[in-house]
Symmetry: C2
Subunit: 127 residues, 2 copies
Amino acid sequence: MEKAWTKTEAGALAELKRTELKETLGMTGAEISLNRLGVGQAIPFIHRHRENEEVYLVLSGTGEFWLDGEIIPVREGSCLKVSPSVGRSLRASADSALTYACVQAAANSLKAYTRTDGVLLEEKTGW
Amino acid sequence: MEKAWTKTEAGALAELKRTELKETLGMTGAEISLNRLGVGQAIPFIHRHRENEEVYLVLSGTGEFWLDGEIIPVREGSCLKVSPSVGRSLRASADSALTYACVQAAANSLKAYTRTDGVLLEEKTGW
């Protein structure tokens, strides 16, 4: 049976190592990776996806995405949705490392969310 | 037609305001919220979900989750998967704010991911 909750520790975000969470946490709705590119480092390939939409959350630093040939600058707090068919790559700036989370989930799979999927409980925490 | 990529800026993570990304970015596979609890601040209710699994990524600070009555300490880098039926709440520590991302996606919706959903392209970025 699926465990109701699971936890892992990725450590300090400034010192991230590539961490893939789906198998570690037993996730069934998304894959999330935590990533760090060193100063000036680039992903050495372009990829797209078959079914999955990706959302990138930039956690620190600055860099650039390459999206179907278009260059998009990013910095801490940039949130970028990329549809499956888009060819994508990214790099850290020449003077900055770049840490980011990448969330992939099947396009068009989310039905309800937040107020329409969440249920408030009567129970109290005691806090 | 769905835009192939979209971007928004959430700003410096230490000064996050509650930001819900799904509608802003036109996401179709997940909802992601960015959140900040001030020093000692608690979510004032317990909730569960109907269909969606949640994954919490702690971006800074320390705090505690309440999961079906169990107390789970978290800190920067803690990654926590919570199945839909689990009652959940959280608070920042008495001496720390807490910033975090919450990803919700439909449980059991992810079929393939990363190496099985990704496709490498021949094209080069020129970097």
